[in-house]
């Protein structure tokens, strides 16, 4: 069966993304589950390149598989998982899976036949330049607000995780 190269890459990347997500659910050790989620993040970066968003693909690899995974691995290192603990109720995983499949089926019925427009917009030739232009002219206020938010979150997380000396 001959498929075009675009479809072939879509199928490979989709296989990687869904494999990473499903293995994340089924691994029992925390570190293995984290590393399989990294496979999902990197496959999604491949998807962003297919969708002509190269800057977002680079940011995805830097932020998700770089910073967030390392942060979560540090959290795993600093905490200890206990094996003897209160379990979950008897039929809870089955109920959750059935409900989520129902939700997915309903949404799929709504989105399954969207074709979308063929894109003739030349803004995707210089992706980083277009993002920079839009970010500093049209989206300047959210940009400054996000920088304030970064400052607030930085101070907040340091304060929350600080060890109290006097107690």
């Amino acid at each position: 069966m001959i498929v075009s190269l675009e479809v072939f890459f879509f199928l490979i990347l989709a296989l990687g993304a869904i494999t990473g997500a499903v293995l994340f659910l089924f691994f029992s050790k925390v570190v293995h589950a984290l590393l399989s989620s990294v496979l999902t993040f990197v496959s999604l970066a491949g998807f962003y390149i297919m969708l002509s968003a190269e800057f977002i693909a680079g940011a995805q690899i830097l932020i998700y598989s770089g910073a967030i995974t390392i942060l979560l691995l540090f959290a795993v290192m600093l905490t200890k998982k206990d094996d003897v603990s209160k379990g979950i109720k008897k039929g809870w995983p089955i109920l959750v899976t059935v409900t989520t499949f129902t939700f997915a089926g309903l949404i799929y019925y709504g989105i399954s036949d969207w074709i979308g427009k063929k894109n003739e917009n030349p803004i995707f030739i210089d992706n980083t330049k277009e993002i920079g232009t839009a970010l500093f002219t049209k989206f300047i206020i959210p940009f400054e607000l996000v920088s304030m938010l970064l400052l607030v979150a930085l101070i907040g997380s340091i304060l929350l995780a600080k060890r109290n000396i006097e107690s």
Binding site: A17, L25, L72, A75, K80, K81, W114, L135, A161
Partner: protein
């Protein structure tokens, strides 16, 4: 042959549903945070697919994806700070052990 928009939307739907199942089933708080990241990634894929193939193609979808990634990273940082202080107080990262507000 071109890939239709609904293929990207369906893939994002599958990842989102796996994220929902992860949030509701996992016992470790760290894995719940990773499931939330998975859901945010699925929404980002939707944004970028609509930025290229949607009804008004433009760069706004990618700009919003940048903001979404920033907020996701911040949320993980603050979540882990809360987790560390919780671990110091209670000694466990199992979600089912946090029963202080439960009535007997």
């Amino acid at each position: 042959m071109e890939i239709p928009l609904s293929a990207y939307l369906t893939l994002a739907l599958i990842l989102f549903c796996i994220g929902i199942i992860g949030v509701l089933i996992k016992k470790n708080i760290i894995l719940i945070l990773v499931s939330i990241e998975l859901m945010l990634n699925a929404a980002n894929l939707n944004f970028i697919a609509f930025s290229k193939y949607g009804f008004i193609p433009g760069v706004e979808g990618q700009i919003f994806t940048l903001f979404s990634m920033t907020i996701a990273a911040l949320e993980v940082a603050v979540g882990i700070a809360i987790l560390i202080s919780l671990y110091r107080k209670l000694g466990t990262v199992n979600l089912r052990d946090l029963t202080n507000l439960k009535e007997e």
